[in-house]
């Protein structure tokens, strides 16, 4: 890693999900804010260990689903009730026939919700993002295999190259490495 490049942060590797979780608890209690852990799979209880709350992804999905429902209502009702009344089997077009419109309302609600879920997930996770400083760390490729990593960013106000390194080593971090941008 070239020396003139900006420091992104300090990374440490841990033995297991359990060791990483205990380390995360200690980092949380030390008052860091710009840090993250990287694991091959979602670790149960890690949100709490990191001091993160529940994901608010469901909020945009609710809006997306409501939009889908309203779209279906307009799509079906406007042509059927006013623009182009299609009389089939002499059945009336009024509020009593609403159940016959339900399947499409349901399908569009689900369709819009699913799209909102995936796009909100990408936006909230800032994906796609094909370049990230952590990829500069050679050991980091094991994150999708069996590696457990903790990275503290240099822009964290409590970050200090020497003190943070000592802290990471103290809580059991191995291969503590300076990651460059």
């Amino acid at each position: 890693m070239a020396e003139y490049r900006k420091v992104y942060g300090l990374g440490a590797e841990f033995d297991s999900a359990a060791a990483l979780m205990h380390a995360a608890e200690k980092i949380r209690d030390s008052g860091f804010s710009k840090w993250d852990v990287h694991t091959p799979f979602p670790v149960h209880g890690m949100d709490k260990a990191m001091g993160l709350g529940k994901s608010w992804l469901s909020a945009p999905v609710f809006i997306g689903g409501t939009t889908g429902l309203l779209t279906a209502v307009c799509l079906e009702m406007i042509p059927s009730f006013s623009l182009y009344k299609l009389i089939v089997h002499g059945k009336p077009y009024d509020w009593r026939t609403i159940p016959a419109f339900f399947p499409i309302m349901f399908e569009l609600t689900v369709l819009f919700s699913a799209f909102t879920t995936v796009f909100s997930l990408l936006i909230m996770n800032q994906l796609p993002k094909w370049y990230h400083p952590v990829f500069n760390w050679e050991r980091f490729s094991r994150v999708t295999d069996d590696g457990f990593f903790l990275v503290i960013e240099a822009r964290d106000p409590k970050f200090s190259e020497t003190k943070t390194r000592a802290l990471l080593e103290e809580i059991g971090g191995q291969h503590v490495t300076l990651i460059h941008d």
Binding site: S16, S55, L127, W130
Partner: protein, 494 residues
């Protein structure tokens, strides 16, 4: 350490069979899932792919011939206007249901054994829905007018009838396919990242890298990812139940005897799951044979559980068949009675209905054959499971054919009764969809991780941060990452 001790002392009776056998390590899972994709294309793959692709080409040629000549090249007639095409449509769309059931309903009900089979089952869903979509698409005759199905205000000001089950079907099937693709791709992202990180060649690095979207497994990402997965599962659960219900409305809202029944939606959904699991086993058992390393992930326990689901849903389907017969008798409507007791469940071949032999074939395949799964021996014998799955696959096709053909061929007016025989174009189109399905599945096995590795890792004991800490804080070798059965040679992979 008290928690660890408590785990070790869990009484034998309440201990569960591990989902990944032989205490495999996390790295072992990555290695064995990814190596399938990374290894040189095996000879058997070409030997399997070539005939499948050829069959798919035959099917596509038949479709081309049908489009250029019109639906007259099929064996349908004015009386039997729906036959093999809609039978095949319902057959394929039903198969898709098992994938969504495994990925959504079993996820919500916390059935952790789903993790090793959900990826392949979801892929199967997509390919089955592609095959299903072909049939109504070409059955409309003038495929270039198919856009009339969409509610687009064109210059003639013609809108589709929003109260028609056929239009509901358009929405249901297209939504189902789209949501299944989204769900499948979302599940693939972490595993694509795994392939990206292991890739050696530039092409692989680029291709997997692009589709992995720069995933880096951070917990701030996993937090939203898990919520997204939960939401997609929650959305897919009613969706999968609705799709086959809507398909059944195509029949149930008509006034034809044999179709006009309220039992259809639950009966169709149970049948779809039943047939879908049979197809999952049909493709997973050979895959397991070809890749013995999957044995520790797709274990005997998985096959056993799938066989139990087949037994359960097969019995629900059997109940529905018997209930239909009883209601036909109880209702004393002579047209219903004629459909059920003359065309379907009549005794004597050639004397009763024209298609009663298919009714009995359906009864045997769907109701009687899965009953063998009451025996643990049968559930654990892969040959028995495979043969029974084949019976179920055939039986579910017969079921749809029986429903469609018997009700249409001999309807209210005897002067319009008409036999139906498929033409060779129809037969080869159907065979061609098997070619398309299997070719797509073989391509999937070759290029994408067939097992959802990150979910399998998450159900191993190493993944549990609360109860598994043999070497926590000891600074020893990474026990969480290396299991006792790992060959040391494999360790040097990185």
């Amino acid at each position: 350490m008290s928690e660890a001790v408590a785990t070790l002392e869990t009484p034998k009776e309440v201990q569960r069979i591990p989902l990944v056998t032989n205490e495999r390590s996390l790295h072992w899972i990555t290695e064995n899932v990814a190596s399938i994709v990374e290894a040189r294309t095996p000879l058997w793959w070409w030997l399997a792919f070539f005939p499948c692709a050829l069959l798919a080409m035959v099917g596509l040629c038949c479709i081309g011939y049908q489009i250029s000549n019109g639906v007259g090249v099929w064996g349908e007639n004015k009386t039997v206007g729906w036959a093999w095409d809609i039978t095949n449509f319902v057959f394929w769309i039903g198969i898709g249901h098992a994938g969504t059931l495994i990925s959504a309903i079993l996820f919500l009900s916390r059935q952790k054994w789903r993790t090793s089979i959900n990826r392949a089952a979801e892929a199967m869903t997509l390919f089955a829905v592609i095959c299903a979509g072909i049939f109504p698409g070409i059955h409309v005759g003038r495929v270039w007018m198919a856009w009339y199905l969409a509610p687009i205000p064109d210059s003639y000001d013609i809108w589709p009838n929003f109260r028609s089950p056929l239009l509901w079907d358009v929405f249901a099937v297209s939504t189902y396919f789209t949501v299944s693709v989204l769900f499948w791709y979302t599940g693939l992202i972490p595993d694509l990242a795994s392939l990206r990180d292991r890739a050696k060649s530039r092409v692989r690095k680029f291709a997997y890298g692009v589709f992995a979207l720069g995933w880096r497994g951070s917990n701030r990402q996993w937090r939203h990812y898990e919520m997204a997965y939960l939401l997609l599962a929650g959305l897919s659960t009613p969706l999968v139940l609705s799709v086959h219900s809507v398909v059944s409305f195509d029949f149930a809202t008509s006034i034809l005897p044999g179709w006009h029944t309220t039992i259809f939606p639950p009966y169709f959904v149970a049948g779809a799951i039943f047939g879908g699991f049979a197809m999952v086993l049909t493709i997973m058992l050979p895959a397991r044979l070809l890749y013995p390393q999957l044995d520790d992930m797709v274990t005997r326990q998985h096959v056993d559980k799938m066989a139990k689901i087949i037994l359960l849903t097969g019995s629900i389907v059997g109940y529905a068949y018997l209930m239909e017969l009883y209601i036909a008798y109880y209702g004393q409507n002579k047209f219903e009675m004629f459909t059920f007791f003359h065309q379907r469940a009549s005794l004597g071949f050639n004397e009763g209905g024209w298609y009663n032999k298919y009714y009995y074939a359906m009864m045997f395949c769907n109701v009687i054959s899965p009953q063998i799964f009451w025996s643990k021996w049968a559930r654990n014998n892969y040959i028995v499971v495979f043969i029974t799955s084949m019976f179920v696959n055939a039986g579910m096709w017969y079921e749809r054919f029986v429903i469609i053909a018997t009700s249409l061929a001999q309807d209210f007016l005897p002067s319009s009764w008409h036999h139906y025989h498929p033409s060779w174009i129809e037969i080869w189109t159907f065979c061609g969809t098997f070619g398309i399905f299997l070719s797509l599945f073989l391509l999937f096995m070759r290029f994408l991780p067939m097992i959802c590795a990150f979910e399998v890792k998450a159900v191993t004991p190493h993944a549990d941060p609360h109860h598994y800490r043999p070497t926590a804080n000891s600074g020893g070798p990474a026990t969480g990452a290396l299991g006792p059965h790992d060959a040391p040679a494999k360790e040097g992979h990185h």
